[in-house]
Symmetry: C2
Subunit: 270 residues, 2 copies
């Protein structure tokens, strides 16, 4: 989960998201709309008897805040809570399937974006073909990793003959709250999908700059310069009654833009 504003628990229920699927929570920065729901979520996890560990990644004072709130309530959680204080850009999590990195954005207080990159997935084995060519089963995982097969007599069977491309790996970045800043580019270039905030329409560029936020066109310029597959925009100022113009303005610069709407699932790389 990325960020956790007040009322996140209600939305988890509304959208039928299983709590057990949440093992790591990444908090971009300590403005309330991004973390006021975290302590309540942690409490509820415990009241509901969670056993699974929970990992929290966020700026330095977050651990102090959460621990103080647990202490004054005399709460002992029934699961292990692990804090990972973010101090620098870099890799936060790496396992055999995915790498999660953080990078600085340019906001009024310390703020981090997060990128999620699936590792290359194994090629799909054409088992009938491999059997027909007499390749022993023991070599199948070797084939899936993309290697050719060399028989005992030196015959080479090219990998492409017995495998097909695996499912493609996807990548996504959440650029958090930020003013327009091209230092984001190296962290998001070439990704399948990024989320970039657009607090304002483009006529309020000055206000955006002043408040460390971005406009529609600025988000779209980042997407376009980074050559990403798709742009999601959000964090719209409540001063606007409708969102149509956000989409229109951003699409003038980067056509593959969508509004990030509550309750909608967007698939990276599709």
């Amino acid at each position: 989960m990325v960020d956790c504003g007040e009322g996140t628990q209600i939305q988890l229920i509304n959208y039928k998201i299983r709590r057990s699927k949440i093992s790591r929570i990444f908090i971009s920065h300590l403005h309330g709309d991004h973390y006021f729901g975290l302590i309540g979520l942690i409490n509820s996890f415990s009241l509901l008897g969670r056993k699974q560990d929970l990992h929290i990644y966020g700026p330095a004072p977050l651990q102090q805040l959460i621990e103080l709130q647990l202490k004054v309530a005399d709460t002992t959680l029934c699961f292990d809570l692990h804090f990972h204080t973010i101090r620098n850009e870099g890799i936060l999590v790496e396992d055999d399937k995915c790498i999660i990195r953080c990078f600085r954005t340019n906001h009024r207080i310390e703020c981090f974006g997060f990128s999620f990159t699936e590792k290359k997935k194994p090629r799909r084995l054409l088992a009938d073909k491999a059997a027909e060519l007499g390749i022993p089963v023991a070599f199948y995982s070797w084939l899936k990793s993309g290697e050719d097969y060399i028989a005992e007599d030196g015959t080479v069977i090219k990998n492409e003959t017995v495998t097909a491309p695996g499912p493609r790996s996807c990548s996504y970045a959440f650029c958090a709250d930020t003013k327009y800043d091209e230092r984001l580019l190296p962290h998001v270039t070439g990704l399948d999908m990024i989320y970039h905030e657009t607090t304002y329409l483009d006529h309020l560029r000055d206000r955006a700059e002043l408040r460390f936020h971005s406009t529609t066109r600025q988000a779209a310029e980042i997407a376009q310069k980074a050559g990403v597959g798709r742009l999601l925009i959000g964090h719209f100022s409540s001063k606007y009654d409708t969102l149509e113009e956000f989409e229109t303005e951003a699409r003038e610069v980067f056509i593959n833009t969508d509004l990030a709407l509550e309750g909608v699932t967007y698939l990276a790389g599709v």
Copy 2:
């Protein structure tokens, strides 16, 4: 406002409660369901440009918690926030209309209930009658306070002749989270209405005791022993699917009991 759980802002909107009517917030104790919504409410007040002072009353660590959350967000509020740390039982607020007191309840952590007592209201002047008897207008406020009128010639006009009783004054207490404890009685005796928690039905008396909560009959016993006008019960455990039995059980001991239901207004002294 008494207590402020997560999502209070949404309910203020749902029930069309004007934010400007909230000038004092009383927090009974630092379990999350009683205060996790406070920091968000304070933030929103500021975002919406509140000018009016806000007074917060609560146990000691509350000020530290709220100030830490404002500090890490680099937030400067646009109104004055006054903390009043509750350390002892006694009067929290007194003006010409009302006295607000706090008293200890018996919960797992330090916890306070609050009572709200309207002061005696002025008697209603029967202006026609007063004029007919030749009482000068300058003496009218004197009459409203219940005094007789003594004319220059020594004639006494009894107050009851020229005034009628004013509107009655109401009193209410919120007994917060607590196990059954008769030490509450002196603080709530004779009040028009009290709220007392009933986390469990009466068959779970042992569990209630263990968890510093109360049952239906226990709340009703407090109401009955305190001779209050009306009892509101709430804080029902989520383990129960329906609330009917809460009402039934409590009414067996104290007939004038009602379930405290979300969005319903209950008038003390009516």
